[in-house]
Symmetry: C3
Subunit: 346 residues, 3 copies
């Protein structure tokens, strides 16, 4: 945290007012952990008690709580104001500028203006890279790849041949795009490999997590549309198509040829089988296993996935299933006894 | 897609006949997506309606459907004929040839003929590499590793010391072989680390996925036999032994010392506990959790895994379990009432 | 396995006695696989029959079994004695010494004594590295990182900016620390990115697995305390706090802001939701899904996780659930019939 702003500068940046002393703010933190030179925020009124004990130098809060602290920035939406401050304090990752003489760049590659290429990055034949891109060390860009403007590929990211990225994409370390799809078919005469001759296409404003893998298509393309954010260690199979503004959380796996609509959210470790259609605005719970098509706006959970309310009822009852077996055992004995009694009376 | 063949050349390659115009074919695609210079195929008769609307320049199909299109290649098995064409159109990955002066190769390493070593690859002491191998940038080969002929290690693959690969192996980017097995034992006096002094041995014709991890053995070796294909982000623990021609789909985890037979298929995200014996031809469903030995030819699914038919019945009934609780509640009340009525009559 | 010791030297190292011939021991192995120059061990009496057929040159065993073999080392705890021998035979990974002229080291970086820096490692601005550290090829250390003494970062590990490691840490290949946390919030006006301005802090004696990912915090820090061991392909979300001496097995995912106590064990593929408190000494079973706080010393399993004994009973009964439905169907018919009979008699 090397940056520093005055409280007045921050208020000005937010288009908001401040009260109290115009202190120098050296960082941002939670009410619980903030020190005397840090700015914090109060968004959820249930944390209001922390206001009394916080060491924060100043707090962003709603005017309803303005008298609770001395130094404050007043905001209608303290959470978003604080999130904007996080952008203010964020440091651009990296320490190198220009194009390193220790990068390996094929003569046929075209690189835009104001790009940063770290030592030991490799750029292949016929690659095209837009303006203002940053390629960290260990990045490999295969032949015929196309990268838009303002993209960042952090260390050890790999784009295999013919992968394309739109503008403003950010790849966390170790992400692999365009590896060969798992095209193996078991036949009577052994495993047949189906060569994967498609590619990967990524839209604009896409973020891809550390050590995630997006396979290239068997034919045509694997596609991730603009605004979608993919977390660490996610697997996207060949020919998958993902819509706009989806959130794919860590360790999710999506099998081949599945089509996913816009604004879907898949929670951590969920698995989506192949050749399915998941429509817009679908939410899949953590560790959920989706094995059939899902209609738009659905919220599903469990394995195999079911409608959310059913899943929640099932979840609560699941630990009581052993007891249910006992109850059915008892019922069977009771009914046998009753039958005997009735037969005796006949 | 830079290659191009005439329809006659492709028919010749397949040992098949063609009909219609001898067009230039620039690529391969599905009936739905193919353009006028692309070749497609009809394997499953249920897609026959797509023949009417496809823009494909030509189609591989069975002679029963030959009159449905003008330009065609006639085949008894259109799917496999098409798969062979994919091999025809596949481009060899990469753009570099020879041994880069910017690779770091230990003087004691022995490298076969016709190998390609990219810039920034590292080859350690006493390594032996066969003929016709390709090591991309960022690859690290630890000391005493042995690599057969015709192997490809794509960018940023790592072989730690003493790992051996057979012939014709293909490693997707970021795969890690020979990392230390997780040899930690919790004892009364803290966690004890058990040094892992074994290694990893891989057979011939093995493919390993992006960012997959195969740990070296505590003693002796972790072993993957010939023809087995391992997908992205798979974890293989120390001392695991995997047979021939297995398909291990993405994100599967296999815990230490488990032995797996030949021709097993583990679907995505399945987990196999340690110290088990999984016999030949076993299939484990997606997200399945195997905690006991499995007999040959079994198909299992679920967590803990059960026989497939049982799993399917369970899957269908699972969402009805909350209703089953209600039904048992009702039965208990009914039977209590009946008991009272009978007692009253006594 | 290049090292070699006499049986007497090994006995001396263990502070134990040996019997038989003072053979040269070239390696360690199981009773089943050991050859005539290898040392094995008998810890569990159920393997005593293997003593009769083993080819091992010598065996570490309890004096109760001393007469079963000719060459032996006598130990009260053969397993731990053998584990110590594994340390004796373990080779230090790597083949390079000194600081490579082909590493890229920022002039402002401070590097301690006796460090090994491989070719193609990158060390950023204002980095501080202690003594006796080893950085393999492809390692990237972002600006303002701090690394203690005796740390090993194997090939292609990445520390993004401001990450700190304590002493004696070991990172397996491809581990990524300090990647940006998944700070995306879906709002009415699209996905908002919350910049992640915190960092990652790792204690002493921590091991981190191949291709694992530990995200940096939104604010403050993501923290892994001393002695904790993290396996391959594990995901640790932003602001997670993990206590001392935990074992986090392969493919586990821990979502953001969850706090974990000391000495917890999470088995493979378990998932822990965000914002939870898991107290000391908690064990979570394989593939378990934890969605609520867990009290200390608990053992839980299943999804959603339940108390271990309940889970085991549920696991056994789960395949019988389809049958339970049939039994309830039958009861409903029986009771209907009984009701009719009783009503008829009225």
């Amino acid at each position: 945290m090397l940056k520093q702003f005055t409280l007045a500068e921050i208020a000005d940046f937010l288009g908001a007012k401040y009260q109290g002393e115009n202190i120098a703010v050296t960082g941002l933190n939670t009410l619980e952990e903030a020190t005397g030179t840090e700015l914090s925020f109060l968004a959820n009124p249930k944390y209001i008690k922390q206001i009394e004990t916080t060491n924060a130098g100043a707090v962003i809060l709603h005017e309803n709580h303005a008298q609770a602290v001395k130094n404050a920035i007043i905001s209608d939406n303290p959470y978003f104001a604080f999130a904007r401050c996080m952008g203010l304090f964020a440091e651009k990752e990296g320490f190198f500028e220009g194009v390193s003489e220790f990068a390996s760049i094929h003569p046929s590659a075209k690189i835009g203006e104001h790009c940063t290429i770290y030592p030991f990055a490799v750029i292949g034949a016929n690659v095209e890279i837009g303006d203002n891109c940053t390629l960290f060390s260990g990045v490999y860009i295969g032949e015929h790849c196309h990268i838009g403007d303002n993209c960042t590929l952090t260390p050890n990211c790999v784009l295999m041949s013919r992968t394309s990225l739109g503008d403003n994409c950010y790849l966390q370390p170790g992400a692999v795009l365009g590896g060969e799809g798992f095209g193996f078919v078991r036949t009577d005469f052994g495993i047949q490999k189906i060569p994967q001759i498609g590619h990967v296409e990524i839209g604009d404003n896409v973020e891809i997590g550390a050590n995630a893998a997006i396979d290239r298509a068997a034919l045509s393309k694997t596609f991730v549309n603009s605004g979608t954010c993919i977390d660490n260690l996610v697997q996207i199979g060949h020919n998958v198509q993902i819509g706009k503004e989806c959130l794919i959380i860590s360790q999710v796996g999506i099998a081949g040829s599945t089509k996913i609509g816009d604004r879907c959210t898949f929670a951590g470790q969920a698995g989506i089988a192949g050749h399915l259609k998941i429509q817009d605005n679908v939410t899949v719970g953590p560790q959920g296993g989706v094995v059939k098509d899902i209609a738009k706006n659905s919220v599903v959970s469990g394995t195999p996935s079911m409608e959310y309310n059913t899943y929640m009822r099932h979840s609560i009852l699941q630990p009581k299933i052993p007891d249910l077996f006992k109850r059915v055992n008892a019922l069977e004995k009771q009914i046998e006894k009753l039958e005997q009694e009735i037969n005796t009376k006949k």
